[in-house]
Amino acid sequence: MSERDPLDDFFEAGRAERPAPEPAFLARVLADAEAETAARAVPAPRQQGRLRAILNGLGGWPTLAGLATATAAGVWIGVALPDVTGTLVGGSGYDLNDLLPGYGTDLLVEG
């Protein structure tokens, strides 16, 4: 006599007859793993054109922004302040004293 659930015999038989994957299939799964590792190791190639190469050579976008600011400032000075620029350029020139007051020609004479 037995109070065993008759289904248990079926389950036991089912566990013994477990469907098993083919080795070739497991090899494909492993190949996926390795492909995924390789894909992670190599970053996606970035398209680098000539303009990008020049920009990178200059130092990237921050440098370009600085250049643009300097250019705009130069244009503005040239257009809006012609008198000042004229004075600087059109004067009689600078003496060494104007630039380095401590090094006057009198120093040379006395020495």
Binding site: S2, F10, R15, P19, L30, A33, E34, E36, A41
Partner: protein, 193 residues
């Protein structure tokens, strides 16, 4: 790390090692996990080729998530069963093989057996045929519980339902199986009532 030394290493440690580029860890995970979910998928789908597709996809998702795996949040095997359960469900529903509970045939009267006994393989085949007649969720729960050996909480996590729902599904599934297999008990070598 040599492969032989990995038998005691947890699934999670292997997954993290794989995420860091350890080839041997991928091999150990493949040999440890793929056969488990293949057995499940082949039983649920009753089709080896489809089971291979599902397992390959589930394992691919595992490989992809490895670098971002958050340790301690879930068991790797439970996560993988969950992915596999969902992929199998999608397959069954798309192919129209999902069985409605009302569509389960009533067990027929047992026919006189030609042979007195049958080998265990025949019982396994009979079980598989009977499982294929169950509604999809009952089938999945019964297979996970009684053939894959998962606990009810693990099944609940894999199927994204509560433990009580798991108990209900397995109870109803087993009741239906008894009904389906009752007509074949004599044929399968059971003489007791």
């Amino acid at each position: 790390m040599p492969f032989d030394a990995m038998t005691e290493v947890s699934d999670e440690a292997l997954l993290v090692a794989y995420g860091n580029g350890d080839r041997a860890a991928a091999q150990a995970l493949t040999l440890r996990l793929a056969p488990r979910i293949f057995g499940y998928a082949a039983r649920v789908l009753s089709d080896r080729a489809e089971a291979e597709d599902v397992v390959q996809e589930a394992m691919l998702r595992l490989w992809k998530i490895a670098p971002d795996w958050r340790q301690g949040e879930a068991q790797v095997s439970t996560w993988l069963y969950r992915v596999t359960v969902n992929l199998c469900t999608d397959r069954l529903r798309k192919s129209g093989r999902s069985v409605d509970i009302d569509a389960v045939a009533e067990p027929e009267d047992g026919q006189p057996s030609v042979e007195a006994t049958m080998v265990a393989a025949d019982r396994a085949t009979a079980l598989q045929e009977a499982l294929a007649q169950l509604p999809e969720r009952q089938r999945q729960a019964v297979i996970l519980r009684h053939l894959e050996g998962l606990s009810n909480p693990e099944i609940a996590a894999a199927m994204d339902i509560g433990v009580e729902a798991v108990e209900s599904l397995t109870a109803r599934g087993k009741r239906a199986l008894r009904g389906i297999l009752a007509g074949r008990r004599e044929e399968l070598g059971y003489s007791d009532e």
